[in-house]
């Protein structure tokens, strides 16, 4: 899940009687599953929440290129290198569609990027962990993209047309990303003792941060209730997390790897896996900026942006000169 704890700016979900006629008409459209399109009237809070959610998602795609980029030059085979490059290229593409979807709401990509670089916009907490071995590239595909798909498939049905349509395309590519990640893990789990140890170590380090990707329990959250009423959040964080655990544990068993949770067990009564408590202090620390890589990730993005300023200025200057020559 690439958008976590998105604020809606409301203090309570309002009842029908408290809404203005415009708000009532808007909610009626949502309830009738009619998609909202860029030029349609929409409450400001809906617009602002979507901008936050979509831009968080876009930023996550772009920042998420960095931990994987860390291994492009060291991929172990030419085939793996090609697959990883294709995957990272997809992520850049996802960032572009998502920034475009956000732009339909009246903000510019440059504004959103400025918010990110100023530390005012968030991106998924997961990208603040380091990729230390090749198995981490497998774990990211398998777990991180797996968690992202879990969240994004329901969003294909979300109320905002451009976001829903972007999600349809993104989900197709994400499912390839997840398979390639699992394939890396499979090769390593069936490989030498050193490779198997790397695979286990990657699962040990990425398991809990992956569960944190869904965000804290939002059963009581006003923001989540409002986002659910607007149909830009379809399932609760806990529901999504449970689905992820239920799907992933058998996959880990097939790999012969141990999920690092002594409390993990199948509950026949619930028909789900029970799992141990998540360390939310770690999550909040990472969200606040104190994860292992937050500062590095932002420093690299800001540096790339600043280093590229002269290129962007030159491209603009050239385009203006060319336009002037054509007009003359």
């Amino acid at each position: 899940m690439y958008a976590q704890m998105v604020e809606t700016g409301v203090s309570a979900v309002r009842a029908q009687a408290e809404m203005t006629p415009e708000e009532r008409a808007f909610q009626a459209r949502i309830d009738a599953d009619i998609k909202i399109e860029p030029k349609d009237p929409m409450p400001d809070a809906y617009r602002r929440t979507l901008v936050r959610q979509i831009s968080q998602h876009a930023h996550s795609e772009i920042v998420g290129m960095l931990p994987e980029g860390n291994w492009v030059t060291r991929a172990p085979t030419l085939k793996r290198k090609a697959i990883l490059m294709a995957k990272i290229q997809d992520e850049g593409g996802h960032g572009l569609y998502l920034y475009s979807a956000a732009e339909t709401l009246g903000v510019s990509r440059d504004q959103l990027i400025a918010e990110l670089h100023a530390g005012r916009a968030k991106y998924s907490s997961i990208f603040n962990y380091p990729t230390l071995s090749w198995a981490d590239i497998g774990a990211i595909g398998w777990l991180v993209d797996g968690a992202a798909i879990m969240n994004q498939i329901p969003l294909c049905r979300c109320s905002y047309g451009p976001y829903a349509r972007a999600m349809v395309r993104i989900c197709k590519e994400e499912s390839f990303h997840q398979r390639q990640g699992y394939d890396i893990m499979l090769a390593m789990a069936q490989g030498t003792a050193a490779q198997k140890a790397m695979a286990q170590d990657a699962l040990d380090r990425w398991w809990w941060p992956s569960l944190m990707m869904f965000g804290p329990s939002d059963a009581e959250s006003v923001h989540s209730a409002q986002s659910a009423a607007w149909k830009i959040k379809i399932l609760s964080n806990d529901e999504l997390r449970q689905r992820f655990v239920d799907q992933t544990v058998p996959q880990a068993e097939y790999l012969g790897l141990a999920v690092p949770d002594p409390e993990l067990r199948w509950s026949p009564e619930r028909g789900h896996y029970d799992f141990g408590a998540i360390d939310w202090t770690e999550f909040y620390a990472v969200i606040k900026g104190d994860g292992p890589c937050n500062r590095d990730r932002m420093a690299v993005r800001v540096q790339a942006w600043e280093d590229g300023a002269w290129v962007r200025e030159a491209a603009m200057a050239h385009a203006e000169r060319r336009a002037a020559r054509q007009a003359a």
């Binding site: 290129m65 085979t77 002269w310 030159a314």
Partner: protein, 260 residues
């Protein structure tokens, strides 16, 4: 056939340049001046990597046919040392700034396209097939890199200075592209290799046209690296190259025989 040994060497030349350039382009991931450029650099790198893999496949088969070990693409890419690599000196040059990267790409793309186009008529059918596929991709690469040379050359004062400096610095590595040695001569005679001597004039014309549109000067220096059979094509590389290989080959070297 008597030229199998030369053919194997030539196929490594065709494979190693795109491989090493793709490796350099991979270093840009997440750091380009705009997301579109990040995607485009990776896209070009991916094309080049795909081409290298096709050439390696052919090279391995030729090696086997000649009674050698018939190494696969990964053995060829990850288990040769510096002196065994056959790429042009130009493509191993470090990325530098965006102008350096695009100038390197431009000088290479213009040569690469001409070579591949000539190779579509090779008497070695598989070379012809691979070249026919690759030349379509490179037609796009050369357009894109020329566009950037023009944008930066005819952009701001700063971008003009940087692009001119990049062209000037890299120019010394372009002479090798048109020098032939015994390996290439034998294959040119057999109708297999592209005769790069005939490509220098059209390359210079194209480069001069683009640089002119970019308001940039064609470098006057005639000092060329890698001439006289001591270039990248013969396995004589620069100091930065060993570091590139150390990074690229790390896993295969550290865990011999592992399957990934």
């Amino acid at each position: 056939m008597t030229v199998e040994r030369e053919l194997f060497d030539y196929l490594l030349r065709l494979a190693d340049s795109p491989l090493i350039l793709a490796q350099r382009l991979g270093e840009w991931v997440g750091k380009a001046p705009a997301i579109e450029e990040d995607v485009a650099l990776t896209n070009v790198g991916l094309d080049l990597l795909g081409q290298a893999r096709l050439w390696f496949g052919h090279a391995g088969d030729v090696e086997r046919r000649a009674g050698g070990p018939g190494r696969d693409e990964d053995q060829l890419a990850f288990l040769r040392d510096t002196r065994e690599f056959r790429n042009l000196l130009l493509v191993e040059q470090p990325n530098g700034n965006f102008a350096d990267t695009l100038a390197r790409q431009f000088l290479f793309d213009r040569w690469h396209f001409l070579v591949l186009r000539a190779l579509t008529a090779s008497r070695d059918a598989r070379i012809g097939e691979i070249a026919a596929k690759a030349v379509k991709e490179v037609a796009y690469h050369r357009q894109r890199s020329a566009d950037w040379v023009i944008r930066l050359g005819d952009g701001t004062e700063l971008s003009h200075t940087r692009m001119q400096a990049a062209i000037d610095r890299l120019w010394t590595f372009t002479g090798e592209m048109f020098a032939v040695d015994a390996v290439e001569l034998a294959l040119i005679d057999a109708g297999i290799a592209a005769d790069v001597r005939a490509l220098e004039a059209p390359w210079r014309d194209e480069v001069a046209t683009v640089l002119g549109e970019a308001t940039l000067a064609v470098p006057a220096s005639t000092h060329m690296q890698g001439r006289g059979g001591r270039g990248g094509k013969q396995g004589h590389h620069g100091e930065a190259f060993g570091h590139l290989l150390a990074e690229m080959q790390f896993l295969q070297r550290a865990y011999p025989g592992a399957r990934w």
